[in-house]
Amino acid sequence: MKAAKDYVVREIAGDVVIVPTGKAAQQFNGLITANSVAGFVWLNLEKCDTPQEMVELVLENYEVEREVAQEQILSFLQDMKTVGMIEY
C-alpha cells in the first residue's frame, strides 16, 4: 500500500501531517492532520501489502481489541482509497 502520488506525508514534532500537492491541492489547498492511530497507519502504509497486514501491525503496536481494530482500520483504509488518498 502507499500514499497516492499527490499526497506527501510529513511528521512534525510527533504529529503526522498530510500535504496535498498537484491536483489534490486544486481540490483542497490546506493541510490534513491525523490522530495517533491514523498517523501510524499513514506512516506505515508501505510496510503493508494488504489492509489485513495493517490491522495486524496496529494490533502489535496498540492495545485494542481485534474486532475493533479489524472494523475501524479496514473502514478507514477503504475510505482513504475511495477518496483517492491511498492506493492498494
Binding site: 506527501v8 510529513r10 512534525i12 504529529d15 501531517v17 498537484g22 491541492a25 489547498n29 493541510l31
Partner: protein, 370 residues
Amino acid sequence: MNPFQTENLIEQRICNLADMNQIPISGTFELLPLCNMDCKMCFAKMSKAQMEKHRPMRGYQEWLEVARQARDAGMMFLLLTGGETFLYPDFQKLYCGLRKMGIVVSINTNGTLITEEIAEFLAKDPPRRVNLTLYGSSDETYKKLCGNPHGFSQATHGIKLLQERGVPIKLNCSVTPYNVDDLESIYAYAAEKKLPIETAYYMMPAIRENNLGNQDFRLDPRTAAEVKMRVRELQYPPAVLKDYVLGTLDRYRDYVPSGEVKKGFTCRAGNSVFWIDYDGMMRACSFTQEPSVQVFDRPFIQAWNEIKEGVSCVMLSSECLSCKMKTICSTCAASMCSETGVYSGTPKYHCELTARFIELLMEKEKEYGE
C-alpha cells in the same frame, strides 16, 4: 515575526509545536535581489552589476538541496521572495521540486510580471498563497514610488489572471509618504476583489550595505500611528472597532510590568523561523544582521543550530521589556537593533508611535462615551 498573519488552526498548532521544540518550521528564501521596479524604500534591490560584484545568485538545484535538508529538519512552510520572485530564472523548476518534497510554499511578488503562463502554472499546483504587494491605487502612484508608470495596471492584471484560476492571493500594502493618500482606495479595491489585505505602516531603517534603505521614505512616527488607526477603521465593522479600542485600552491600563528580563527574541524568529538571503546568509529574520551563518558551506542543521544559539544569547532593551506600553507597542528585536544599532537599544520611533496611538485610542473611547 509572524509569517502567517492569517494562519488557520492546523497551521497554528504546527507552528506552536515547532516553537516549543525549536524546530525550523518556517523559512524564507530570498532568491535574488533583482527587481523590475525601483521602489524608493526597498531594502533588498541591487542592480545586476551590483549583484554580480557582491555574489551571483544561486542555482535552483542549490536551493533545492538546502530545502531538502531544511525539510528533514522540520521545515513545513517556505516563503519565496526577492527582489521580484518571478525574475528568478528557474522559478518553475524550483517550485515543482519544493512541492514534491511536501513543502507548503507562499510567494511574494509585486504582481507586475504575472502572465497567463505563470498563472496557469501556479493553478496546477497552487501555492499556500501569493502575497502581492499593492504600492498604490493608480499608475501615477506607481510612477512616483516605484518608477513604473504602468505598475498598477500590470499588478491588477496579474491579480485578475490569478483570481480567474482560483490561485489564493493576499494583498500587502506598505504605506509611505508617497502612497499614504491611496490607502482608502487600496482598501476599496481589496474589498471589491474580496481579497484579504495587510498593511505595513512601519518600516525599519536600512541595515544592509547595498542601499540607502527606508529611513528617508517612511512615515514619521505620529503619521504611522494615525495610519495604524485608520487601517483598523477600514478593516473592522463599527462594533468590532469599538471592542478593539476598549479592549486594547483595558489591557494597557491593567498591565503591570513584571520587570522580568529574559534573554532571546520575543518572536518566532530564530526559534522556529529563519531567513536566507540570496547570497546564502541565514539570519533569524530579514531585518536582523547578527547572528548570521553561511548556509551553503555547511549542513542546514548546523547553520540553524548556530542561529538558535546566537539568538538565545541576545539581551533586548530592558526599558522596552519593562515598559507600560508593551501591550500595544509592536517593537521587536529587529526594530530595536535596526533603529539603535544594538539589540539592547530602545527604539524611540516606536515610543513616539505607540504614545500617539494610545492618544488616538483614548479619543475614540471618548467618542464612544465610555
